[in-house]
Each structure stands twice: as C-alpha cells, then as structure tokens.
Amino acid sequence: MANRAQPIRPIHFIAGGGAFALLLVLTFGTVIAVWTRAELGSGLSSSDWAAVRFTLSQAFVSASVSVILAIPVARALARRKFRGRTLMVSFLGAPFILPAIVAVLGIVAVWGRSGWISQAIEPFGFSPLNIYGYFGVVFAHVFFNLPLATRLLLQGWLSIPAEHFRLCAQLDMSPSEISKHLERPMLWSVLPGAFLLVFLLCISSFAVVLALGGGPRATTVELAIYQALRFDFDLSKAAMLAVVQFGLCTSVALASIFIAKPTNFAFGLDRPPERWDGKGAFHVICDCLSLVMLTLFLFLPLLALFIRGLIPIAHLPIKIYAAALNSVVIAVGSAMLAIVMSLALAALIIRIARRRKRVSQIVEGLGFLTLAASPFVIGTGLFIIINPYVSPFAVALPVTALINAAMSLPFALRIILPAMTRAEDHYGTLGDSLGMERWTRFRIAIWPRLKRPIGFAAGLSAALSMGDLGVIALFAPPDIETLPLMMYRLMAAYQLKMASGVALLLISLSLILFWLFDRGGQLEHHTR
C-alpha cells in the first residue's frame, strides 16, 4: 500500500505526543499530585466499598435501561417520517449538554411529587409519583442518556444499506424477519459500544445522584471522592478512590472491548432510507407509543424549563452579559482546544496504526480516560500542581477551558478519528501520489473531508463546556462569573426565578453554539 510510505514526521510526535502527555498529566498526573500532598490518611472503609457497589449497580441498571429503551425509539425514528422529526432528532442532544442541576429541576417540574404528571393523575385517585431514591437516580440517568443511546442506535439503523431494505421488501419479508436479518445483526455491533459509553458516563455521575438519590444509600464513588476532598480533607483517600474509579472503568471497558469498540459518533448525517415495512397497525402503534414516550420523557422537562425561564429571562441583571460572555469564551476556547488535541491525537494514532496496531489501540483507548476521571480529582490535582508557580485565579479561565476540553476529548476523538482514517485512506493517498507536502496535503486533501465532523465535535464540546460548573468553582476567580456559577449563586440567594431565567439562557446559548459550529462545518468550502 502507498500508505506504508507515509512517515511519522516530528510534527506528529510533537503535537500528538504533546496532546497525549497532557491527557496523562490531567488524568494520572493529578491523581499522583493529590497523593503526594496527602498526609497519612485512612484506608478505604466499608462505606467506601458500599459506594463502589452502588456505583456499579446504578451504572449497570441505568445503562441497560437507557440502551434497551433506546431500541424501539431509534427504530421508530428510523422508519417513520413525520413533521418535526428533524427537530426531534436534533433535540436528542439537548439533555446531554444540560447542567445536571438544571436537568434535575426540569425532571422534578414534570415528574416530581407536585409536577405536571402527578397533578394530572391526582384527580383520578392516583397518589403522586415518587422519583426519589435508587429509582430516581436511574430515572435521571435515563433522561440524560436515553437520547444519547437513541442517537447512537439511530446511526446504526441509518448505516444499514438502503438496498437491504429494498431487498427485504422485494422478498416480502415480515417485520420480524426484517428485524432478524437487518436489525439484530446491526444492534449486536452497536449495542455494546453504546452500553459502554452510557455506563462510563453514569459511573462518574455526582450531582444527579445527590439530588434524587434520596439519601446516603445512594453514594457513588464520585460522591465519596467529594467527601474525602471537602469534608474529611483526606487527600490520600481521595486519590485511592480515584484509582478505584479508574480501575472500575478500565475493567468494564476492557471487558466490553472484546465485544465491540465504543460506537463511532458519526452523528452528522440523518438521511433515513425509504422503508416498505412496518405498515401494519401493530407496528404503527408501537412506534407511536415509543415516540410519545420519548416526548413525555425528554421534551416535557425541556418544555418546563423553557416555560419557567421565559419571563425571568427578560429581567436578568446586566451582569448576566459578562457571565454569558465568559461562558462563551471558555466554551469556544475549550472547543478549539478539544479539536486541536483530537486532531493531533488522531493523526498520531493513524500513523502508529500502520506500524503497530496494538500500540495505536492503546493510545486510542487512553483517549477515553477522562470519562473515567473524577473532575474533582483533576481540579484538585491541577490546583496542587499549579499553585506553587502561578496564582490559580490568574489562570482560571484557560485552566477551565483546558479541563473542559479534556473532558470532551473522548467524544471529539470518537467523531474525528474515524473521519480522519477514511480521509487518509481515500484522499491522503491521492495527495501523496500528487506529491503534496504536509500542510498542502492537510489543507487540500484532508481538511475538507474533516470539516463536518470537526464542526460537530466542536459544537458538542462547546456545549458541554457551557454547562459545566465543575472546575471553575474550584478555581473561582474573584471578578469572573460564568452562567452555571451565576445560576448557583442566584439559587443560593433565594433568587430561584432569576436562576431559572439564567438556566434558560444557558440552554439556549449552548444549543446556539452547538448549532453554529455544526453549521459552520457544513458550509461549502471550495478552493478555487
């Protein structure tokens, strides 16, 4: 193959290696930093092990329920065409980028004891719903992750060649036969990856668990880390728990990697093939029920947040603009960092893969590390590393952008790596044969193929960063507020209405940023 001739140039090692080193510092480095500051602390107690068990169990149940429910919903979206379908599919990303506390308030407004649903069923003699406790944790996690899982599975459905559906129609296959021959094989290849991703996301969940968990029974490892850092100030225990969390995630990831790799996020295209099946009443009803469930489950809480925020959003104080600007700057900065890091990593991975498949797979797997990392440990560790040299205030914004970038790296990398692999295979070779040099080759042969996925990845990381409270709170600079920070501060000052206005602004800006980046990637780009 011509590819063999493609050398690893120093730039690939410097850029890719740099991004990789940064990743290792942020994940393992911070754990070590926390450890070195630790005085002799206590070991893990029985309640810590209870937290480990609870973490695993809730993540397993949440991921299973999300993925199983996603099957009928994705199927309905794949085979039905209706007004608003496109809107529905694009809003599937919304819960994923919501700040946890905003989402919890939305869920409670609809599904809580005095929420819309409870009020609606009370006249019929039903007692109000109770969504707290183990069930509540799973419920909220499903709210966050069902749309994500649906999107991943929908992608699987859309990857089935249109010819296969025609073939089935021509052979007069029944829906169950279509399911057997087309859908089940596809699901087998997509489900494990989707499950793994949701599982990892649920493992490090924190705020949701605290708000809906109903008490200390629902203590996750992440919460135990928080307790160790904040309450006991037991840094060695925090480091130990962080290692346990890495261990959990790694073993689950290894176990499922034997089944399938985490799914590619080829979110961009949504062009469902023409279908001739599923015209029977049973299937129509099934699909309708699935879509109604999705709407109730997903869109009602969003609607509740919208309604609540609508009036206050018009009366927000002037300061909100500064906070919004800061949030946008951090979001754009972290999106750019995430893209640069994933491009560098992807280029390195592809080049290593041509020589050492195994090594490249390890590097790729480590790209997922931040999914397993505790934001608290990252923040604290980085604080310990930075504090002797620079005032943490002075670097609050760049550090926040950097950590947010690292947190969205697993997603950005999954989006960009497959696209870059394809572009390298198809057009990189063409570029080489034409004797294009480095940047020309990248600019002309690779970049146009990557624009769409980059736009999408940038939009996703920008939106994820917008909603993140985590690190900025630890590094909290004096004069700088971000929207999530402001929202929390408003809530702490009894200004709940105002806070719901900020929440709506936050959601809107996140979606707008996402949309802008995503659109930007789709603009035509001709080199004339």
Binding site: P161, E163, Q170, L171, D172, S174
Partner: protein
C-alpha cells in the same frame, strides 16, 4: 407478457422523467443513457421502490402501479449490497424461497442446483465476505433464479467487474433469462454491454425514456439524443 408504461411521470427533486412505452415479452433490453439520466429511477419505479408522480405501470394489462415491491413480477439486482453479510451463501439464496429460512431437503437441493447453475457449486457454506465481487453477484443471480419472476431487472450489477469477467456474467444472465423465458431489463451506461447482450435498447436521456428499439439498428443510425451521448466514439466505428 408485456409491461406498459402509460404516460408515466417520475420526479426526483427538480428532475423529471417521462416514459410512455411498451416492453414486449422475451426481450433482453438495455436501458442506456448518461449517468443521472434517470435509468435507475425508472427501474426502481418498475420494481416498486419509487413512487410515481402520474401515469400507470401495467403488467399484462393489469395496473400494478400501487402494488408493494414483493407483489410485482420483478426481481431487482443492485450494484452492491445484494447479500446479507451475516448469512452464508446458501441462506442468502434460500431467502428467495422462504424468508424464514426453514428449508426442507427438497428446497436445499434446489439451492445447490441454483449454485451449480451460476458456477458456484460447493461454495454454499461460504460467507459473502469470503467471496469476490463477481462471485457475490452470482449468488444474487442464483437467488433471482429461484424467485423465478417474469422480469429480471439489473441495476448496473457488473459495473465494477473487468471486461472478461463481465462478459462471463452477461452470458450467464442471458442463459438464465432465456431458460426461464423471462424479460431482462438492464441499466448500463456502457454501449458495449448493450450491444453484447441486449436485442433491444431503451434510450433514457434528456428527461425521457424512448421506446425500445432494435439495438443494432439503433447504433447503426443513432438518433440525436443517442449521438450526443455516444459522442465521437462511433464516428470512426
């Protein structure tokens, strides 16, 4: 048997194709024309995969315009993705007999027979990924053989094959349709293919499908639409 396209109009975005013609029994017909000219769209409409804008499709005088694909007298082979990658060759063929794949011994024998007829005897237990592109299309042909429909439609199924292999496949197709006394409709943009297998040719160009014409006559004195498609190629021929 005959297929009548009665004042048929097809739309694809802003593109429109008109067809008003009759296809007689037992011919091997090439649909020839520039790419993007609507050849595949027309074939899809006949096979039931493309909704028609107006007009009718008649089979032996019966209106089949609204029949679902499976009810139509047609087997359609695509350029690609004709086989399910997770099913063995035998099973892929077996789908032509029973979609639930509960096959009895007699049916299994029929499948082996079909395999032999397409030159793949003994390959039944292979997976599609273990076969070449040409072999995969042979498997798809074997399945069409079992379905035994009066019309076989091919949508550029051999475009990716080399000339020698392609002629081999065309010979096989000719043999199959002749034995079954079926009608062949084959989309191609290669005039050579048309000349090689088709006794009649439907020219699809400039938004119109022209009535079938004897292939040799057609190439001998091409009408303007064909001449512009063929370009200078024929000027010296």
């Amino acid at each position: 048997m005959s297929i009548t396209l009665d004042k048929l109009v097809l739309n694809q975005g802003s593109f429109q194709l008109d067809a008003d013609l009759v296809i007689e029994e037992g011919h091997k017909i090439a649909l020839l024309g520039p790419s993007g000219g609507g050849k595949s769209t027309l074939l899809s409409a006949i096979a039931g995969f493309k909704e028609i804008t107006s007009g009718r499709i008649l089979f032996n005088g019966d209106d089949i315009s609204t029949d679902p694909p499976a009810k139509r007298p047609v087997s359609l082979l695509f350029q690609d993705h004709n086989l399910f990658p997770h099913l063995s060759v035998e099973k892929n063929i077996g789908l032509g007999l029973r979609t639930n794949l509960r096959l009895n011994d007699a049916e299994k024998e029929i499948i082996q027979d079909a395999l032999r007829r397409v030159g793949l005897g003994g390959h039944g237990s292979k997976m599609p990924s273990e076969m070449s592109g040409g072999q995969q299309q042979r498997v798809a042909l074997a399945r069409a053989l079992l379905r035994d429909r009066p019309v076989l439609c091919l949508d550029e199924p051999f475009a990716a094959l080399g000339p020698a292999l392609k002629h081999e496949m065309l010979d096989l197709v000719a043999e199959i349709v002749e034995a079954a006394n079926a009608t062949l409709l084959m989309v191609t943009h290669q005039p050579d293919d048309a000349e090689y297998i088709a006794d009649q040719t439907i020219l699809v160009a400039q938004g119109r499908a022209y009535a079938p014409v004897d292939t040799t006559t057609l190439f001998h004195s091409p009408p303007p639409a064909l001449a512009s498609y063929l370009g200078t190629r024929r000027a010296h021929g």
